[in-house]
């Protein structure tokens, strides 16, 4: 009896591909902004992280981050960790918004980020409620 846990897993090379792709975008943006050197550093750091995660072995944490060692428990940990990240970012955005207002500015871009976060949350709740 083998349960199908494929919905939790992904290729061990996914993180490397994602990191390199993100590094490429960082390089492009830096080049457009006239800072090619910092873009190359960003690409190198992201590629190094991707290589480390892809080639390391043994640790459940590494395999979970990479995706090939995931199961329902790690998916739940991932969900909880993502929720914590969301809460940290929301608090940071609110603090940034308040600081900007206190400095006599209009609160942006924190105001827009907060609005985007709040709207996303409401839409997500509505979607999951509709889906049942």
């Amino acid at each position: 009896m083998i349960k199908d846990c494929s919905r939790f897993t992904r290729s061990r090379w996914f993180m490397l591909a994602f990191s390199v792709a993100l590094g490429g975008v960082v390089l492009l943006a830096s080049w457009l902004g006239g800072s090619l050197a910092s873009g190359l550093i960003g690409l190198a750091v992201l590629t190094g992280f991707g290589l480390f995660v892809s080639l390391a072995s043994g640790s459940e944490t590494i395999r979970g981050l990479r995706g090939d060692g995931r199961d329902e428990r790690f998916a739940l940990m991932d969900l909880r960790a993502t929720a914590i990240v969301g809460q940290v970012l929301i608090i940071a955005v609110i603090i940034g918004f308040l600081v900007e207002i206190a400095r006599g500015h209009n609160g942006n871009p924190y105001g827009w980020l907060g609005a985007l976060g709040g709207l996303s949350y409401v839409l997500a709740v509505a979607y999951f409620r509709w889906r049942g």
Binding site: M1, I2, K3, D71, E72, R73, F74
Partner: protein, 65 residues
């Protein structure tokens, strides 16, 4: 949640890794279930019960609910 996973596994003389492979989860997940640090999903609880030939109620103690 209290459960009989460890006792049933040892009755079958299975290692955690062997049970984990049969269930399609990590060895750490089996360890967490046995140590009551992780409550498995309903599909995994049913799969475990079927694997050992017991009911879910026999495998998991719901007194704490």
């Amino acid at each position: 949640m209290k459960n009989q996973v460890r006792a049933l596994r040892l009755q079958k003389d299975l290692a955690q890794g062997q049970l984990a492979e049969a269930m399609g989860v990590s060895r750490q997940t089996i360890n967490s279930i046995e140590n009551e640090r992780y409550t498995p999903s309903l599909p995994l609880a049913i799969a475990l019960a079927r694997y050992f030939g017991v009911t879910v109620e026999e495998m998991f103690d719901d007194q704490g609910l």
